[in-house]
């Protein structure tokens, strides 16, 4: 991780904190370390992912700063745009704080390139034991690309009908080298793991292409895909909100269309 970070264009220095107290990722041990470093920096930034969402507000309160989270655009050094109401409105805020603590939506910014390797320095710290302890982890095993940053995402809704049905979604995703997403209803029904959920309460994605299969388009889900450049819908209902917002829609039964589509893509030699 430190080596990867050091090679990114624009990175001047990588500080590495090591120790059992930090490895667990628990906020009450990590935040004291970050709070100690914070006074040296004008901006303190993390990705708006689970870890950043867990840690950064805690750090902000420790520093008596009002954080600006889920930023999708930086318009000036103290002027930031963030979505509210599940992305149905965009709020522009101005901060006159001496330091700003931000979380950024990865999907809203282009990744930086590679540059010269920056020095990596150890970060000595006095360990702070967390009051909490991790006792189990359930990691979803998948060889598909990361959902938050994938160029193509294939999403399935509750009409996919079963975990078995989601195999079909995964197969289409595999053909396209795409990540797999799911609606809240599909996750609630147990058809897909929770970390596939896309929407206001799940992951926010902005792929170049989103293929929505059997997804009607609850507001909650639409909040997660507003950044998608192109949207293709496969749905039996041409009046579904997602069918209406898609760039292209094929109306019909997903269980007929998806296998035929996979075969047709194979015939055209599409393989990523």
């Amino acid at each position: 991780m430190a080596l990867d970070g050091a090679r990114l264009l624009g990175v001047n220095r990588v500080l590495v904190g090591q120790g059992a107290d930090l490895a667990a990722g628990l906020p009450d041990s990590i935040v004291p370390l970050l709070a100690g470093l914070a006074p040296q920096y004008t901006y303190i930034v993390a990705a708006a992912a689970a870890a950043g969402r867990d840690l950064m507000p805690r750090l902000a309160a420790k520093l008596d700063l009002m954080p600006i989270t889920d930023v999708v655009s930086i318009e000036a050094p103290n002027r930031f745009v963030r979505p509210i109401y599940a992305g149905n409105a965009l709020q522009t805020v101005v901060s006159d704080q001496k330091q700003n603590l931000l979380t950024l939506r990865a999907s809203a910014f282009r990744p930086t390139g590679l540059g010269d390797a920056a020095p990596i320095e150890p970060l000595p710290h006095a360990p702070v034991a967390s009051a909490a302890r991790i006792i189990a982890a359930h990691r979803t095993e998948s060889d598909s690309p990361d959902l938050s940053t994938a160029q193509i995402v294939v999403g399935g809704g509750v009409s996919v009908g079963s975990a078995e049905g989601f195999k079909l979604i995964e197969q289409l995703a595999k053909t396209l080298g795409a990540a797999v997403g799911a609606t809240r209803a599909a996750v609630d029904a147990g058809y897909a793991p929770n970390d596939w959920q896309v929407g206001q309460t799940g992951k926010i994605i902005a792929p170049d292409l989103y293929i929505a299969v059997g997804i009607s388009g609850a507001l909650q889900h639409l909040a997660g895909i507003q950044g998608a450049k192109r949207i293709i819908a496969i749905n039996s209902d041409p009046e579904a909100p997602l069918s209406k917002m898609a760039d292209a829609v094929l109306v019909g039964d997903l269980f007929t269309i998806v296998p035929a589509l996979i075969a047709e893509l194979d015939r055209l030699g599409v393989k990523r």
């Binding site: 507000p57 149905n88 709020q91 193509i152 589509l261």
Partner: protein, 252 residues
């Protein structure tokens, strides 16, 4: 176990919101309001915990103008025992909310504070974490399961790569995610009974917290419109469209 639950009144999540044409914010006048869905999961979790461990008191607090009483009554109807509304007409930032709640915790001395992980109006996802920081308590955010153990809680959290379970000593702050439970709809007798439960109203000034906003909202605008799409006739046409998209990606 004494549990404090913080709840927020927001525009009902089924309402399609409208941005005011002058960019000053989202129209809330004459719009249906209700308890933030995540807060409902937090209230339900408190009621279920109290049912499991017995001998509990659930205190519910909301910060806002008079109509915020409605969401406190909803929580009381669901099974909370006592309510508190901190009276303010101002829209407070999450940091100020967390500071007020820290004062309430100092007064009430709960073993556990439960909150929704975020409010669906500002989508901040701050207050639980901030409150835990101010109290120096451990936190477990985005909870999808809470089980009492002998001396604390086991909380399962939804994270980017799956789920993790943490053993959490009390006192602690836990924020609720949507898969935590199915909030109950209070039956009419409970709704009636809620009206007779104690509900204190306290002016925000009582708490001696500096509420000055740190940020200025410059404008609120609707998201950009998407152009209308087209209907594709058959699978072959759809496959060609996708193949073209993929070719464009490869060309980048």
């Amino acid at each position: 176990m004494k549990i404090l639950v913080a709840v927020k009144r927001v525009v009902d999540h089924n309402v399609r919101i409208r941005v005011r044409p002058d960019g000053s914010g989202v129209e809330t006048a004459g719009v249906r309001m209700s308890m933030n869905p995540f807060c409902k999961h937090a209230v339900e979790a408190a009621v279920q915990l109290a049912e499991k461990v017995g001998a509990s008191e659930i205190v519910v607090v909301s910060i806002g103008p008079k109509p915020a009483t409605d969401v406190i009554l909803t929580a009381l109807a669901m099974g909370a025992h006592r309510g508190m509304r901190i009276q303010t007409d101002a829209e407070l930032e999450t940091l100020a909310i967390a500071k007020l709640l820290a004062k309430v915790v100092a007064e009430e001395q709960p073993d556990l504070v439960l909150l929704g992980k975020q409010a669906v109006d500002d989508d901040s996802n701050h207050v639980g974490q901030m409150l835990a920081a101010l109290l120096d308590w451990p936190q477990a955010t985005f909870a999808s399961a809470i089980n009492p153990t002998g001396d604390g809680l086991e909380v399962t959290r939804e994270v980017d790569w799956g789920r993790e379970t943490v053993a959490l000593p009390l006192p602690a702050v836990v924020t609720a995610d949507l898969r935590l439970n199915t909030p109950r709809n209070a039956a009419l007798p409970m709704v009636m009974k809620a009206r007779s439960k104690p509900l204190a109203v306290r002016p925000v000034e009582d708490f001696g917290v500096d509420l000055t906003p740190r940020l200025r909202v410059d404008s609120v605008s609707p998201p950009p419109d998407r152009a209308a799409g087209k209907t594709v006739g058959n699978v072959a046409d759809l496959a060609r469209l996708i193949a073209d998209d993929v070719a464009d990606l490869e060309a980048l």
